[in-house]
Amino acid sequence: MKITGSALKKIAGLAGPFVGLILVITIFSFMPEVSDRFLNLANIKSVATQSVIVALCALGMTLIIVSGGIDLSAASNLALSCVLVAYAINLGMPPLLAALVGVAAGGTVGLLNGFLITRLRLVPFIVTLGMMGIARGLAKWVAKNQKIDAPLSWLNELMVRSPRPSWLLVSPGIWLMILFSLVMAVLLRKTVFGRHALAIGSNELTARLCGVRTDRVKVAVYTISGLLCGLAGVMEFSRLTVGDPTVAMGLELDIIAAVVIGGGSLSGGEGSILGTLVGVFIMAFLRNGCTMMGWPNYFQEIIIGAIIIAAVTLDRLRHRQE
């Protein structure tokens, strides 16, 4: 009993934050039905592409959670941006401009979140819950309760499994995800802004005592996160080729879960970009593996639920060992 416990801890310690991910991948790699296909390059590419959207939102969510907030409107924000891109294209805008409209819309929703939270001194949960309804409602309004069809353009090439200039190797969406992960990691760990966000999440009063302009930082945090959601919306449009106001319903919980699985603490002050990406991939590989196994959805739901708990438990074991 003792021995297995400590052995487990050792393994957990070695694997670092990747332990949950490795566990998931290992399990599926040993399933005879899919073992040859699961770790195959094409499949990994496809999982990576599927992760882009959640990952982009989760990057922003990490920043928010680290600073002690939460954003329930992320998924609705994404849907709004997705619809607006299609709308803008139909207005005759060039695709690049349309994409910018989508990103900007996301940023605006984020800005509004930050503004309401700091000005009205409301808890982020409530503000973003309200905004979740508002953004979703706006998306449906713009789309007149339907999805918006838009002519195909290069925008829709961003999320293909096999990218057009083949030297790209993976889809532009994946490159964007990598790029923004790096940017956000640097922002969080290497800039004054990131340090201030962390300090606010850790103890807002202390941050204020130390001259951190907490309100400004918070507004910036929500705006950045909003921009990333907007970008995720563009990617969603790219994937769907239509502007769909009902897309990503309930995805906010997946996004938050990814951050928390990756070690983020909802009481603020803790979280890392690497951890979040691991969280995103744990969930993506789980879904992918379960689908490939052809397991029924309820089984998949049960397994994913159990693995979320298990992954975090392992992470805690590792921490306790330190």
Binding site: A143, V160, L240, M292
Partner: protein
């Protein structure tokens, strides 16, 4: 074409076919499932039944299709949640040599093997005629919609709406753009709240099983079942009972089992090199309290799928 080659090489191999519905928890899809399994058993192929994890989630359905492409199944039957969004994954599958048959709802373009479906617009038209018939061609009604952007139900709603407006000037819509959402409970609450506002309503049309049942429960709750005429879509045990009790005056029925069966069969025909038709209609019928005991209607109301799916 790897699938084709292998089948040519070794006849012993069983084909693995993925059947992807829009969701997994409606009675309708259960019957489709049964049809697919039946075809699987009869034709000796293995069926993977797998919908998006969240009902009616387009993005997740794309993921499911992609995952099956990764798995390299021999063919896919897909009920697309969106006529556009699913185009690219289907293109990718076809390009990778995995043939795709579309069922239930349409897909834009024609890069698929065959389209097996009910004529949903026609279903809406039949529903409109039936409701008009029981109302005697005049009255105030609700059109309860299902979900924003859902193609098949939108066609039904459209067929209903256009027929009523065009052919029955005596019928007036009190409500025609409220959405019930995906669950029975949400449809229930919507209808309740609408009944609160418009107690003068005389007829209701709901375009699928969950919204029909939700509306029925609300009418029962208000003691209006049977007084307010209800025409719905699809069937389930409770709906059949209500039909028997004359609480529902009409149910537009598709033949989901036939749809599932034909889709798989057509797909296999194609894989094995037989010619297939591009469009296959599975038909719609209206069940009423009067005709519900005719054997062919009974069969549609309660398709015998217990043999195929538990």
């Amino acid at each position: 074409r790897p699938g084709g080659q292998q089948s040519a090489g070794s006849g012993a191999r069983t084909y693995k076919l993925a059947v992807i519905p829009k969701g997994t928890t409606h009675e309708f899809w259960k019957a489709v499932h049964a049809g697919a399994v039946k075809a699987g058993q009869e034709l000796g192929v293995e069926i993977f039944w797998k919908g998006p994890q969240k009902e009616d989630d387009r993005a997740q359905q794309i993921t499911v299709v992609e995952d099956f492409i990764s798995r390299r199944v021999d063919g896919i039957v897909l009920a697309p949640l969106d006529d556009r969004a699913l185009m690219r994954p289907v293109d990718e599958a076809m390009r990778d040599g995995i043939p795709v048959v579309i069922m239930d709802s349409n897909l834009q373009g024609d890069n698929y093997i065959s389209f097996v479906a009910t004529d949903n617009y026609q279903g809406g038209v039949l529903a409109a005629r039936r409701l008009a018939e029981v109302l005697g061609g005049k009255g105030k009604i609700f059109l309860i919609r299902y979900l924003e952007g859902s193609a098949s139900t939108t066609f039904r709603e459209q067929g209903f709406l256009e027929t009523i407006t065009k052919d029955y000037p005596g019928i007036e819509f009190l409500v025609k753009d409220q959405y019930a959402g995906t669950t029975t409970e949400s449809a229930y609450q919507l209808t309740e709240n609408l009944l609160s506002r418009y107690p003068q309503v005389e007829g209701i049309f709901a375009p699928n099983e969950s919204s029909t049942f939700g509306a029925l429960r609300a009418l029962q709750h208000y003691g209006l079942a049977g007084k307010v005429k209800l025409v719905g879509f699809d069937s389930s045990a409770k709906l059949i009972q209500a039909l028997e009790n004359n609480e529902i005056q009409g149910l537009v029925l598709q033949d989901p089992m036939k749809m599932g069966y034909l889709a798989v069969k057509v797909l296999l025909d194609h894989i094995q090199g037989r010619p297939v038709e591009k469009r296959i209609d599975t038909g719609v019928t209206v069940a009423t309290p009067e005709n519900m005991n005719q054997p062919e209607i009974r069969n549609l109301l309660e398709p015998d799928f217990a043999r195929y799916v538990r």
